[in-house]
C-alpha cells in the first residue's frame, strides 16, 4: 500500500484503536500512542516526495501527495508529534477520559498530515475541518470553569474561517472548473482581478484564523492556554503552522508568482501589528500559559510578516522561524506543563524559585527562551537576523521598527517566564517539588539540543528549507552551513559568534570557579541583604505582582484599543439590533394587522414608481 495512505490510516485508524485500547488498559494505550507517534515519524521519512495518489470521486479529481514545500511542514509535524505524544503519557496520567483525548490527538496529527498532503481543495477542506473539530473538542476537554466560552470563541472564529474557505472553494470551482490546488496556482493569472482578490482574501481569512493574524487572533490566547499543555505544544507548535502553510500558498504561489505584491504587503503590516500587540499583551499576563499563548500570537506575527514581504530571504526566514517556533514554543509549553504538573499552578504570583528543584526543565526553558528572544548563539537569532536583513535590504523600514519594538519588548516577557517560574526567593510551599518524570524532560531536552545545534550549524535546517523554497518557485537558493548572507553581501558567521561567546564563557568560568574556591560558598535565598532585618520563616520577599507596572503605565494608551473589545462592541451592536427587530414580533394579532396595513399603505404610495 502507498505510504501516504498508510500514514493517514495509521493516525485515523490508530486513533480509533487507541480509543478501545484505553478502555481495556491504560498501559496498553500509553504504549500504543508512543508507538503510533514514532511509527508516524518513521513512515513520514519513508515517503517518496513525488508519489501521488489520485482518486476520481463523483467527477472530482482528488489527489494526495507531498510536494517539496509541504514536506517541510510535514517534517515539523512528524518530529513534534511523537515528542508531544511521549510527553503526554506522564503528563496526562490520572486524568479521566484519556481514550477520548488521545483519539482526538491522533486525529489532529492525521488531519495535519492530510492537509499537507491534500492536492485538491476538497480534501484540504475535509482535513481542515477534522483538525478544527478535534482540536475544539480537546480545548473543551478539561471541563474547567469558563471553558465553554473559550470553546465558543474558538469554534466561532474557526467557523468564520471555514465558511470563507468554503466560499473560496466554491468560487474556485465555479471559475476555473477544477478543484486541484495546482490548477488554481497555474491559472491564477488568467482570472479577473476581482476574482483574484475575492478568492485570495477569502482564503487568507480562512487560513489567517489558524495563523492567528491580528483581527482574527482573539480565540488563540484562551484556546492555547486552556487545552492540556501536551496538546498545546502541538497546537501552537505545529497546528498554527497549517495556517502559515496556507498563507504561503496564497501569498507566494498565487499572488507573488503572478506579480501581485500589494496583498502580501498589507498582510505584512497586519503581521507586524500582531507581533507588537501580542508582545504587549504577553507582558501583562500573570499566567505562564496565557503569556506563552500571547507570545505565540506575536511570534506568528513575525512569520506572517516574512511571508507578506515575500522576498527570497524573507520567506526563507519565515519558514525557518516557523520550524523554530515549533521547536521552542513546543518546549516552552511542555516546560510550563511540567511545572503545572509538579507544582500545581502556573501563576507567576504563586510560583517561586523552582530552579533547584527542576533543573532540567529550567535548562530547556532557558534555551527555548533564548531562542524565543532571538539572542545569539541559539537558533532563534538566525531567523530574526534573516527577517530583519530582508526587510532592511528591501526598504521596509517601518516594518523593521515595529518588529524591533516587538522583539525588544519580547525580552520583558522572556525574562518574566524564567524569573516567575524558576528564580526568586525560595518558599517552603514548594520544598517538596520534584523534577518532572524522564519521559517529560527528554522531549524538552531533545528540542533544546536541536536549538543549540541549529544556532551554530543552521545549514542542517537550511537544506530542507532551500528545497522547499525551490518547490515554491524561488530560484537560486544558496545557503552555507553556518554563514548567513543578505542581498547586500553582508554576512554573519555563526561559528565565530559561538566561538567568541563560548570560549570567553568557558575561560572565565574556569577562572571564577577556581579563584578563591575555598572561600566561595552557597547561601540560601533567605540570606539576602534586607537592610539588616532577618526575614522570618514565613516572610517571602519574592517580587511577582505587577511585575512590569511602570512599563504598562508607559504604554497604557495602547491597551485602550483591544480587538476583543471591538468584537464585543460589534457583538453588542448586533445583539441590540436583533433585540430591536424582536420588538416587532409583539405576539399581538392587532399589531400584526397594523403591519399589514402599513405595508399596503407603503405599496400604494410607491405604486406609481413600481408600476
Amino acid at each position: 500500500m502507498n505510504t501516504l495512505v498508510l500514514l493517514l490510516i495509521l493516525f485515523f485508524g490508530g486513533g480509533l484503536i487507541t480509543y478501545f485500547a484505553y478502555k481495556i488498559s491504560k498501559i496498553i494505550g500509553d504504549i500504543l500512542i508512543a508507538l503510533i507517534g514514532l511509527t508516524g515519524a518513521y513512515l513520514f521519512f519513508q515517503i517518496d516526495i513525488h508519489s501521488l495518489v489520485s482518486i476520481k470521486l463523483a467527477g472530482l479529481r482528488l489527489g494526495l501527495g507531498f510536494n517539496g514545500f509541504s514536506w517541510i511542514f510535514g517534517l515539523l509535524v512528524a518530529i513534534l508529534s511523537p515528542l508531544a505524544l511521549i510527553y503526554s503519557i506522564p503528563y496526562m496520567k490520572g486524568r479521566e477520559r484519556l481514550e477520548w483525548f488521545y483519539m482526538l490527538f491522533l486525529f489532529v496529527i492525521g488531519a495535519m498530515f492530510g492537509i499537507l498532503m491534500a492536492r485538491d481543495w476538497v480534501s484540504l477542506f475535509v482535513f481542515w475541518e477534522i483538525m478544527t473539530w478535534s482540536s475544539y473538542l480537546i480545548v473543551i476537554y478539561s471541563r474547567g470553569k469558563g471553558l465553554d466560552k473559550v470553546g465558543l470563541k474558538y469554534i466561532f472564529f474557526s467557523a468564520v474561517g471555514a465558511y470563507s474557505l468554503l466560499t473560496a472553494i466554491v468560487l474556485i470551482g465555479a471559475t476555473i472548473k477544477s478543484l486541484y490546488i495546482g490548477d488554481l496556482i497555474n491559472f491564477f493569472g488568467v482570472l479577473s482581478l476581482k476574482n483574484q482578490l475575492l478568492i485570495g482574501i477569502l482564503l487568507i481569512i480562512g487560513f489567517g484564523v489558524k495563523a492567528a493574524v491580528m483581527p482574527l487572533h482573539v480565540w488563540a490566547p484562551d484556546a492555547y492556554s486552556s487545552a492540556p499543555m501536551s496538546f498545546t505544544s502541538l497546537f501552537s507548535g505545529a497546528m498554527s503552522k497549517m495556517g502559515i502553510y496556507g498563507l504561503i500558498l496564497v501569498v507566494i504561489n498565487m499572488y507573488l508568482n503572478h506579480g501581485i505584491s500589494s496583498v502580501g504587503h498589507w498582510l505584512a503590516w497586519f503581521g507586524a501589528i500582531t507581533a507588537v500587540m501580542g508582545t504587549f499583551y504577553a507582558i501583562i499576563q500573570d499566567d505562564a500559559k496565557k503569556l506563552l499563548a500571547w507570545s505565540s500570537v506575536a511570534q506568528l506575527g513575525y512569520i506572517v510578516t516574512g511571508i507578506g514581504v515575500g522576498t527570497k530571504l524573507a520567506v526563507f526566514a519565515a519558514i525557518f522561524l516557523a520550524l523554530l517556533h515549533g521547536a521552542f514554543k513546543g518546549t516552552l509549553f511542555m516546560a510550563v506543563g511540567a511545572v503545572e504538573r509538579q507544582a500545581g499552578t502556573t501563576k507567576f504570583s504563586e510560583l517561586r524559585a523552582l530552579i533547584r528543584k527542576m533543573p532540567y526543565t529550567f535548562i530547556s526553558t532557558l534555551i527555548a527562551v533564548i531562542a524565543l528572544a532571538g539572542i545569539p548563539p541559539i537558533a532563534g537569532f538566525i531567523g530574526k537576523w534573516m527577517l530583519y536583513e530582508s526587510l532592511i535590504t528591501d526598504g521596509h523600514v517601518w516594518l523593521v521598527v515595529l518588529l524591533f519594538l516587538a522583539s525588544t519588548a519580547g525580552f520583558l516577557y522572556s525574562y518574566r517566564i524564567l524569573f516567575g517560574l524558576f528564580l526568586g526567593q525560595e518558599e517552603d510551599d514548594y520544598k517538596d517539588v520534584k523534577e518532572a518524570p524522564v519521559l517529560m524532560t527528554i522531549p524538552m531536552l531533545l528540542m533544546a539540543l536541536f536549538l543549540v545545534v541549529a544556532g551554530t550549524l543552521p545549514g542542517f535546517v537550511f537544506k530542507p528549507i532551500a528545497q522547499s523554497m525551490e518547490a515554491l518557485g524561488f530560484a537560486d537558493i544558496t545557503y552555507q552551513m553556518s554563514i548567513l548572507t543578505n542581498s547586500w553581501g553582508d554576512m554573519v558567521d555563526m561559528t565565530y559568534v559561538a566561538m567568541a561567546l563560548g570560549v570567553t564563557f568557558v575561560v572565565f568560568l574556569i577562572v571564577i570557579t577556581l579563584v578563591n574556591r575555598r572561600g566561595t560558598r552557597y547561601v540560601t535565598t533567605k540570606d539576602i541583604h534586607t537592610a539588616g532585618e532577618p526575614p522570618s520563616e514565613d516572610d517571602n520577599y519574592h517580587f511577582a505582582l505587577d511585575f512590569f507596572k511602570p512599563f504598562e503605565r508607559a504604554i497604557a494608551p495602547v491597551f485602550k484599543y483591544s480587538m476583543t473589545r471591538i468584537y464585543n462592541v460589534i457583538g453588542r451592536g448586533v445583539e441590540d439590533f436583533f433585540q430591536f427587530v424582536r420588538r416587532f414580533y409583539t405576539g399581538n394579532a392587532q399589531t400584526y394587522a397594523l403591519y399589514v396595513v402599513i405595508f399596503f399603505a407603503i405599496l400604494l404610495l410607491l405604486a406609481k414608481q413600481i408600476f
Binding site: 547561601v523 533567605k526 540570606d527 541583604h529 537592610a531 539588616g532 532577618p534 522570618s536
Partner: protein, 184 residues
C-alpha cells in the same frame, strides 16, 4: 639570575599587593541609626571629600568592606548590625564611631543601649569624640588604611576564630535570636 623566590617570600609579596589594593579601596557601609550619622554626609561630600582617600559608600553589605557604626547601638539595632556584618565579605573591617561605641558615652547608664561594641563584633579602629568631626573620621580611615597596609586589621579573622565567644555575648543581649545559620 639564580635568585628564586621561595614560597614564603612570594606569598608575602602577594599579600602586600592584596593589602595595598584593600587599603586603597574602602567601600563603606554606614550604619547610621545613631546621631553620628549626621557627620557622614559632610565627610563624603564636597567639603571633606573622603573619596580622594579612596573611601566611598557602598549600597549593600555584600559590596562593602568597612562597617561604620555611627554612634550608640540599642539592643534592637545590634541584631541588625550583626546580620549586616556577617553578610559582608572577608576581609571586612569595623570602625566604631564616637564615644558611644567605646563605653556607652552619654548613654552609659541606659538600660537598652550596648556599652562596648567590642564585645559583640570586632572593632578595628575607634574614633572617639562626641561627635567626632569629619577631620577625625578621615583620620580614623587613614589609621585603618595604615593597619590594613601593615596587615594588622584582622578583626574579621578574630571574629571567625572566636565565634563562640562573640555568639555568647550576643545571645546574652538578644533574647529572640532568630538568625539564619551561617555555614562557615
Amino acid at each position: 639570575m639564580n635568585y628564586v623566590l621561595n614560597d614564603r617570600e612570594s606569598a608575602k609579596i602577594v599579600e602586600f599587593i592584596k593589602n595595598f589594593a584593600r587599603k586603597n579601596s574602602l567601600w563603606v557601609l554606614a550604619y547610621g541609626t545613631g546621631c553620628g550619622a549626621i557627620e557622614i554626609p559632610p565627610t563624603m561630600t564636597s567639603r571633606y571629600d573622603a573619596e580622594r582617600f579612596s573611601v566611598r559608600g557602598a549600597a549593600t553589605p555584600r559590596q562593602a568592606d568597612v562597617l561604620l557604626i555611627t554612634g550608640y547601638l540599642s539592643v534592637k539595632t545590634l541584631k541588625r548590625v550583626i546580620r549586616s556584618y556577617e553578610q559582608m565579605q572577608d576581609p571586612k573591617y569595623v570602625i566604631g564611631f564616637g564615644s558611644c561605641t567605646i563605653n556607652g558615652g552619654m548613654y552609659w547608664d541606659s538600660y537598652n543601649t550596648i556599652k562596648q561594641l567590642d564585645l559583640y563584633i570586632p572593632v578595628d579602629v575607634y574614633i572617639n569624640g562626641c561627635m567626632p568631626r569629619p577631620e577625625a573620621v578621615l583620620a580614623g580611615f587613614a589609621k585603618l588604611q595604615e593597619l590594613i597596609g601593615r596587615g594588622q586589621a584582622n578583626g574579621w579573622r578574630h571574629y571567625k576564630e572566636n565565634l563562640e565567644w562573640y555568639r555568647q555575648n550576643q545571645r546574652k543581649l538578644i533574647k529572640n535570636w532568630k538568625m539564619p545559620d551561617y555555614n562557615w
